[in-house]
């Protein structure tokens, strides 16, 4: 019973996570290349990808390391970039919260932008799944995303400078995120939330330490919730 449906949920997750490989691969590779170019050893570069496992925060830390910023500023800035993870954690809790603590620990470690976005999309599309099916799906999505994150960081670190910078790899992540936004705009409330968040993000981009992202994220959430209540939109 449960084991069979969990297995099929897992493989459904693998299938849905697989295309992200096209994005995660180049991005991890880019991190590996840039980190070694910044003077990090291969094992230090791998340390980042395995211990931190958060692309945008890793790039932020790398950038600030290059600028010889103070240790505390580097930590605070990269964690600020990652504050959205707390929002992901809160957002996925209604779905994965009933799991035993150790499974919640595993889910927390692998909760990155892509696994979150794909899993929450699926939880909302198929609300009748059991908790173990949702967890199996999450692990499925994670499989072609997180282990390749380590592997391609390693390949990037080894390959070093042999990747031409003109290839536009820096834009792989924005493309992936932009592709996810369209399908999320299901109701007018979602569209209002996204619009408010874009306006706030651009207006507050001058704030130091990526605080603009946090202002925009919070503002967008409030805009969406308010729109839902005032326009009487069914969630």
């Amino acid at each position: 019973m449960a084991a069979g449906t969990a297995m099929s949920s897992y493989w459904r997750g693998v299938r849905d996570g697989l295309p992200f490989l096209a994005v995660v691969g180049p991005f991890a590779m880019l991190f590996g290349v840039l980190a070694t170019e910044a003077g990090l050893a291969v094992h230090e570069t791998m340390g980042f990808s395995i211990v931190v496992i958060a692309g945008a925060a890793q790039f932020t830390a790398l950038q600030l390391l290059n600028e010889n910023a103070p240790t505390l500023v580097i930590i605070a800035s990269a964690l600020a970039v990652n504050l959205r993870m707390a929002m992901y954690s809160a957002s996925i809790t209604p779905h994965l919260g009933p799991l035993p603590l150790w499974k919640r620990g595993i889910a927390a470690y692998f909760l990155v932008d892509q696994t979150y976005a794909q899993s929450i999309l699926d939880c909302e599309r198929n609300p009748d799944q059991t908790t173990s099916e949702k967890f199996a799906y999450f692990l499925g999505v994670m499989t072609p995303i997180c282990p390749p994150w380590y592997l391609f960081t390693f390949l990037g670190a080894i390959l070093g400078e042999s990747i031409p910078p003109s290839l536009g790899l820096d834009f792989a992540l924005p493309i992936a995120f932009l592709a996810m936004i369209g399908p999320m705009l299901r109701t007018p409330a979602h569209r209002i939330a996204a619009l408010a968040s874009v306006i706030l993000a651009l207006a507050f981009a001058w704030l130091p330490y990526n605080m603009g992202l946090l202002v925009a994220g919070l503002g967008g959430m409030i805009a969406g919730a308010q729109a839902e209540v005032r326009l009487g939109i069914k969630p």
């Binding site: 010889n68 290839l167 834009f171 995120f177 369209g182 992202l213 994220g217 967008g220």
Partner: protein, 107 residues
Amino acid sequence: MTDTTQLWIIIIALGLGSFGLRFAFLGLVGDRAMPEWVLRHLRYTAVAVIPALVAPLVLWPTATGGEPDPTRLAAAIATFTVGYLTKNVFAAMGVGATVLVSLSLML
């Protein structure tokens, strides 16, 4: 550029901090029911954070030192439009990547 101890302090602090943020609600709240107003806000987390993350990167790409770039802008518009119209994440990624690569090669 930096000494090894400082680097590992940063890596470990970021690792613990990131895990803490990811575990915050999932680990501590568990299956206790959350109030409706919290859930109502959480419904819009993804749609509020991801556009905010991406908007400055589209207008002011890091690779060009923050200068708006027609190639990246065109790829961004194509990706979003295909995603919005087809509701297909991977069709959008494919079209976006194709536009990005072909314009980069042409320009």
